[in-house]
């Protein structure tokens, strides 16, 4: 009964990045990034399984990257929603240890255990959730999570699965560049065209938006989910490894610990080059020293083609949006890689506008996610985001040709209805293959799912009419429903996703996460229950000072005091069920008291009105 006195659950915004992750929330009408227990806003997206079996996330795990490279993973976002065939290139460059049983879903080996990419991402999300709960002093169960705009259906689903495994209700997946525009859009211009250039650790996105009186309408989006700062690091790393091989006559590329140390050192040099003309890579290994100066000129020559690769999507995006560079009023830069001066000047030349850099490019996406969380929970008013689907949706027709049913850059939610029939007399099922992409042949597109319309009543060929409705929801995720157009009845079907986890697998992982009492989760639930307990105990303390308390009978007061004592006795235990049960009991017993208080409050309020 006392819950009415308190706010709804807080909705947080999460940037689940390739390199770093952040959580933010709305504080007094403005988005703010939440600082973690280690004093850092950025949680490195690194997860390690210690030899003792503990999961370590963030800054502490980054050290493990060097000490236990075979038990530690970074840049897991690159594996989200992908099949084993997609990641052959990454496996060459990254120390990912893929477990043998990785057919439809990749499994990463950390020491003696294996995890899917959504499970690993869930560990990161759980850390962010913990940071937010500690800071907000309230349970956090709902979140908005950002994804690269160019993420396909499978990658989006994998991200949502990660949220669910982490015990979060994912209210919305928001595209990262759109989130950045939201963060910048606060208190800004009423009308205009904005381009958002987002070069992160692993992905590149470009989005062009139209701003109109609080409505953020995405006109077009483009990108490359395999382009980012990681690629630059890998180039520098390769050069350093080659140098070392010729200088020391020693190939370190297979030594995980050495590669990770060297990677850290080249990243330092790369970051320094954004602020100074020359930087040095310093690397020490078993008493030997490697030292190399890199000038900005050399660095720029090295990354020229990577920067150039971002320009094609930018031009295509302007074309799709139907705008010329002159029409673009503002350019926003997002992602750590946009600190590189060469990237900035390329953007400036292309869009003929000086880009915005007021907000920290590492934080702007999380800030925008918090704004969207505010929109969804009602605390931010008058703003609305209208996003698009980045890739066309199609179905495979005769000869493997794709028939597009929802075109890319369609505003979401978007839908299409298609009719299907049989080709042979008495046929009772129809198999449909759904793909995503721009190519004409299904084999060149991304397979999303196959579904089997089954139990069709046997009829002459062409007679049955089954209407299938394809709905891309506001998260950019496809939902399929089917009905028999003649009977109007729902049509039964089997859906087989091509990549990623099936619904059953996700459920199993959520159960697993709950049952196997990952201690973090256990602790989080106890913390949540204690926060609840604090609320009700505080409310009762307050109530004792009111007239309503005095109006209770002695026996009622004794019962309440007894229930309070019961709650206090389980409060410091580790069984959250016991705490929750005591809270419920106390709630039940204080129902009469709460009603009395409400009545008193109403009477007082009425008395205050001068008629």
């Amino acid at each position: 009964m006392f819950q009415i006195e308190f706010d709804n659950d807080r909705v947080v915004g999460i940037d689940l990045g390739t390199t770093n992750s952040l959580v933010a929330s709305m504080e007094a009408g403005r988005p703010e990034v939440i600082v973690g227990e280690d004093g850092d806003k950025l949680v490195p997206s690194v997860v390690s399984l210690s030899p003792a079996g503990d999961l370590i996330v963030g800054n502490r795990a980054r050290q493990e990257l060097i000490d236990h490279p075979d038990r530690t993973i970074y840049s897991v976002k690159r594996l989200m929603g992908r099949g084993i065939a997609d990641v052959q290139e990454e496996i060459k460059l990254f120390p990912f240890h893929i477990a043998p049983d990785s057919e439809s879903v990749i499994r990463v080996q950390l020491g003696e255990r294996t995890f899917t990419p959504p499970e690993i991402s869930a560990f990161i999300l759980r850390q962010l959730r913990k940071n937010a709960e500690a800071r907000l002093d309230a349970p956090v169960t709902k979140a908005v999570i950002t994804v690269p705009a160019y993420f396909n259906d499978a990658q989006r689903q994998a991200t949502r699965d990660a949220g669910r495994i982490a015990g979060l209700e994912v209210l919305r997946l928001v595209n990262e560049p759109t989130a950045a525009a939201l963060a910048y859009g606060l208190d800004k211009r009423k009308e205009g065209i904005i381009a958002v250039y987002d070069l992160g650790g692993g992905t590149f996105d470009i989005s062009i938006l139209k701003l109109h009186d609080g409505i953020f309408e995405v006109l077009a989006t483009h990108g490359d989910t395999h382009l980012g700062g990681d690629d630059i690091d890998n180039r520098l790393l390769r050069i350093a490894l080659e140098d070392i091989q010729s200088e020391w006559n020693d190939d370190l590329s297979q030594t995980g610990e050495a590669v990770q140390t060297l990677r850290r050192d080249v990243i330092r040099a790369k970051e320094a080059l954004s602020f100074q003309p020359v930087a040095t890579v310093e690397f020490t290994w078993h008493g030997k020293h490697y030292h190399r100066e890199i000038t900005r000129e050399l660095f720029e020559g090295l990354i020229q083609d990577i920067v150039d690769r971002t320009l094609g999507p930018c031009r295509a995006c302007m074309k799709d949006a139907g705008v010329t560079p002159e029409q673009i009023d503002e350019v926003v830069l997002v992602g750590g890689s946009t600190r590189i001066p060469m990237v900035r000047s390329a953007v400036e030349v292309l869009f003929r506008a000086r880009p915005h850099t007021e907000l920290n490019p590492d934080e702007v996406v999380a800030l925008g996610a918090a704004v969207q969380a505010g929109i969804l929970s009602g605390s931010v008013e008058n703003q609305l985001l209208l996003d698009v689907t980045p890739l066309s949706l199609g179905i495979e027709t005769a000869g493997g040709v794709v028939s597009k049913i929802i075109h890319r850059n369609s505003t979401i939610p978007a839908s299409a209805t298609e009719s299907f029939t049989t080709g042979i007399d008495g046929q009772t099922n129809v198999l449909i293959h759904v793909v995503q992409g721009e190519r004409e042949m299904a084999k060149d597109c991304r397979s999303l799912l196959r579904f089997d319309l089954k139990d069709i009543a046997p009829m002459p060929a062409g007679m049955p009419r089954i209407e299938v409705r394809f709905l891309i929801d506001a998260n950019g995720i496809l939902n399929v429903t089917a009905r028999d157009a003649r009977t109007g009845k729902e049509q039964s079907m089997d859906v087989q996703p091509s990549y990623g986890l099936s619904l059953e697998e996700t459920e199993a992982m959520i159960d697993d996460a709950l049952a196997h009492g990952d201690e973090d989760l256990q602790a989080a639930e106890v913390a949540t229950a204690r926060v609840e307990a604090d609320r009700i105990l505080l409310a009762i303390d307050k109530a004792k000072k009111t007239d309503a308390w005095g109006a209770l009978s002695d026996s009622e007061r004794d019962r309440i005091t007894g229930a309070v004592r019961q709650l206090q006795s389980v409060y410091h235990g580790t069984d959250h069920h016991a705490i929750t049960a005591s809270i419920e009991a106390l709630n039940e017993i204080t129902r009469g008291l709460a009603e009395n208080m409400m009545n008193t409050a109403v009477n007082t309020a009425l008395k205050g009105v001068k008629v």
Partner: protein
């Protein structure tokens, strides 16, 4: 016609894009699931917004808008719609094709053919505009027939351009 009803406007081929946009923004604010406080309303809101978005996509672009109206009036606007091609159109297209091929091979000055093609497109779009107003005034079925013919020609030309892959060089 459903898509015009969504925008609360009478069916018309000549539409003011600014007015349509204004209506789209106002309806988005009214229907969008993100602005519903009650989670139970959201599925319904999502459905309504999907229809609004589909309608806006179809009506915003004049060609798609015409195709929507044609389809509603029983015209076949799929690829089959281009089957009954009058011989003079074939001839015209043949010439254009030749020109674009020469242009690709670099045997002709590339500006000439392009100017001709874009002139043709402009001419077609002018014709469409006239026919759109004509249909709006009287809703004559013959007008739609004429529009279908013009759209076929237009599709031929744009397909040729796409095939010659010149659109990126312009």
């Amino acid at each position: 016609m459903k898509y015009f009803e969504v925008f609360e406007i009478p069916p018309a081929l000549a539409l003011d894009p600014r007015d349509l946009e204004k209506r789209f923004y106002a309806l988005s604010r009214k229907l969008h699931p993100d602005l519903r406080r009650n989670p139970a309303d959201r599925a319904e809101a999502e459905e309504a917004t999907a229809v609004l978005n589909d309608a806006y996509r179809s009506l915003k672009d004049p060609i798609q808008r015409a195709e929507y109206v044609l389809k509603h009036h029983g015209f076949d606007i799929g690829e089959q719609g281009t089957k009954n091609v009058p011989p003079e159109l074939l001839e015209e297209m043949f010439e254009l094709n030749l020109m674009l091929e020469e242009m690709q091979e670099g045997t002709a000055c590339s500006l000439g053919p392009w100017v001709e093609v874009s002139d043709k497109l402009n001419q077609i779009d002018e014709e469409l505009k006239t026919r759109f107003s004509e249909w709006d005034a009287g809703h004559q079925h013959e007008t739609l027939g004429a529009i279908r013919g013009i759209l076929n020609r237009r599709k031929y030309i744009t397909n040729l351009i796409a095939k010659a892959n010149v659109s990126d060089r312009i």
